[in-house]
Symmetry: C2
Subunit: 149 residues, 2 copies
Amino acid sequence: MGCLAVHTRLADFENRCREKGLKITHQRLEIYRELLAATDHPSVEAVFQRVRKRIPTISIDTVYRTLALLEQSGMIHRIQTAEGPARYESDHGLHHHLICNRCHEVVDFNWESFDALAPPPAIKDWGLIQGKNIVITGICQQCCEQQLK
Amino acid sequence: MGCLAVHTRLADFENRCREKGLKITHQRLEIYRELLAATDHPSVEAVFQRVRKRIPTISIDTVYRTLALLEQSGMIHRIQTAEGPARYESDHGLHHHLICNRCHEVVDFNWESFDALAPPPAIKDWGLIQGKNIVITGICQQCCEQQLK
DNA sequence: ATGTATGCAAACGGTTTGCACGGTC
DNA sequence: GACCGTGCAAACCGTTTGCATACAT
């Protein structure tokens, strides 16, 4: 998943755009590339700052529009963060998130025994399921230590 | 949990406020009472509109401040909603949430086999865990039907 | 040539804040 | 009486939108 070469994933990206009739622009490619490279679940602002190094004239509106578009197309994911600005990640396999309430760092983790669990009967007749996330919140180790000082 | 009489829960509330040195005001009592009565995970605005019927002079700032305060004190919970305004619920036992991406309705559900699961080893050394939520998102039955029309 | 995507700037909605007054303890 | 909590108004931040231009197809 996350181990495919970047150029392969960019080629996939272009194909999926064509399938959906989305134009392949300079800006979209760089935004997607930046998200592929990122491991820190960046905010819109963070993606903007990074892409700006390659495309100094890009506007943050375009980053907002592009990230929303790619999320609607299922090519990237928006993280379930309750507070603060929206954060995104590329689609890199099944995993869940740990979120620090103090520094807002987001860390991936795996939980195979959960993934294997059958969905509870209660949700069967609710409707169409699109996302199933576990979000664990708390204070990360680093922030815990800083607090003691 | 949710089955205790309202006056008992309000008495508990007053006690917990005293323990924490929080003043027991008219506004705080009514905001908490409204959240106890609610089953729809109301937004700040919704709580404001309801409490306003009893206290017409209340301001929405107070509702914001009170809900944030009660959440920090662990007396109520803020729901993990990624998009849109913050939503709250009273502390009424272990459960999880279904969220409709179209109408934004939030529904509680239980998942005992998940609750019984041992936490994955990966999170052991992360830090202090405060919340462990499952958020299932999608389109509720009602919205699915409306879409077909 | 067509129509979508972009950049700019202005508007927007939810939320937070500074301040003086009012209420609780 | 001391001090926290409140209401008011203004500021704030992330995000969205209308518009004219630029670009991909």
